[in-house]
Amino acid sequence: MDRFDGLYEMYRLPIYRFACALTKDPGDAEDLFQEVWLRAARAVRDGHGPRPDVADARPWLFAIAANAHRDALRKKRVRRIFLLERSRSMAAARTDADPGWDVAPRPAEPNGRESDVRKCLRRAVARLPARERRVFVLRDIEGFKHAEIGRMLGIPEATARTLRHRAVKRLQSELSEFRPAARTLAAAGEGRP
């Protein structure tokens, strides 16, 4: 139990951050966070946990989180079949809204508010398709390599690269308003070489 507590203490913040980045509202993030640690506890109990050297635990926990997120989305999809209209209107409302995370002010930003570009980036990441979002967050926020991401998500490394490329392209167009050069480019309809 001490080992599990050690893991929890060490990785609770990264896993919660990952849950927030993957989900669109705090309730979903809490559910996902809870599910990750329950799955981890079951694995440790059944002897399927990571090796005692704790460095091994990080990809293991993130893989659990990514799988739990995929399972949660699958369950949601089944529920949507029954409650089609309601969930459609709710999803549309949520997509346009700012992810309602309770963000604590940080001393680096005196007014305690995120800059517009960061807010927009956060919203754009939340709007990415789930597979692309998982890969983007694992690579660009958590710093895993494509090969590690492939192993964690059970996909080929090349697929991880393709998904990230697509994610970056989407974010590039979503954030074009913050790059004057991109605005000029879009207005002029400048072509490729």
């Binding site: 139990m1 599990f4 507590d5 929890y8 609770r12 913040l13 919660y16 951050r17 927030c20 980045a21 509202d25 705090p26 309730g27 809490e30 559910d31 966070f33 809870q34 599910e35 640690w37 329950l38 981890a40 506890a41 079951r42 440790v44 109990r45 059944d46 089944v78 529920r79 029954f82 995370w101 309770d102 963000v103 604590a104 680096a108 930003e109 995120e114 800059s115 570009v117 960061r118 980036l121 660009d140 926020i141 390599k145 494509h146 690269r161 490329h165 970056v168 392209k169 974010l171 590039q172 954030l175 074009s176 913050f178 790059r179 050069a181 991109a182 480019l185 400048e190 490729r192 070489p193």
Partner: protein
């Protein structure tokens, strides 16, 4: 003369450059392409912008009470107080499953026979008791299938914490409705 690289290939090389060292040839390819392609220059600038902004993004901390709730449940699992999915399935004895299957088959046969006499234009009050009962049974099963996922979700073990533990949070309550 070598074929001019597509923007897509250059973008992928730019992404690859973050993780591993490219060959001198690839670096030259990127440099030559970026000199003439404003879209790829924009892609590179967008990527650099994201890399700059992402570390400064503010992420929330787990809300008060979540750690206690999660650790309480996890310790319960570690102490063997929660059964795994395989154990839960084994808990239902086979004779009970066989009896339930037999009852389902009998009810299906009986319902088919009871509904066979219904003709077109017949109203509900004219139907014999057996046909009414069969219709009621079908309606009840349909409703149960429709609402079972919601009911099961409301009763999930980790929604409300362990027995005697903290009350479910608002998000859990909202979701279980």
């Amino acid at each position: 003369m070598s074929k001019r690289p597509r923007c897509r290939d250059i973008e992928r090389l730019i992404l690859e450059r973050e993780e591993s060292r490219l060959t001198a040839g690839d670096e030259k390819l990127i440099g030559d392409h970026l000199r003439v392609c404003s879209r790829c220059r924009d892609f590179e600038a967008a990527l650099a912008g994201m890399r700059e902004e992402l570390p400064g993004m503010i992420w929330p901390s787990p809300p008060a009470g979540l750690d206690r709730r999660v650790l309480c449940r996890a310790r319960g699992v570690l102490a063997g107080e929660e059964r795994g999915p395989g154990e839960a399935r084994q808990a239902l004895p086979r004779p009970v499953l066989a009896a339930a299957a037999a009852l389902t088959v009998l009810l299906a046969v009986w319902s088919t026979a009871a509904l066979a006499d219904i003709g077109p234009g017949q109203i509900l009050s004219d139907l014999p008791f057996a046909a009414k009962a069969a219709l009621l049974l079908i309606a009840q099963n349909a409703l149960m299938l429709f609402f079972a996922p919601v009911a099961l979700r409301a009763g999930r073990p980790w929604a409300g914490g362990p027995p005697g533990g903290p009350a479910p949070n608002d998000a859990d309550k909202r979701r279980s409705l």
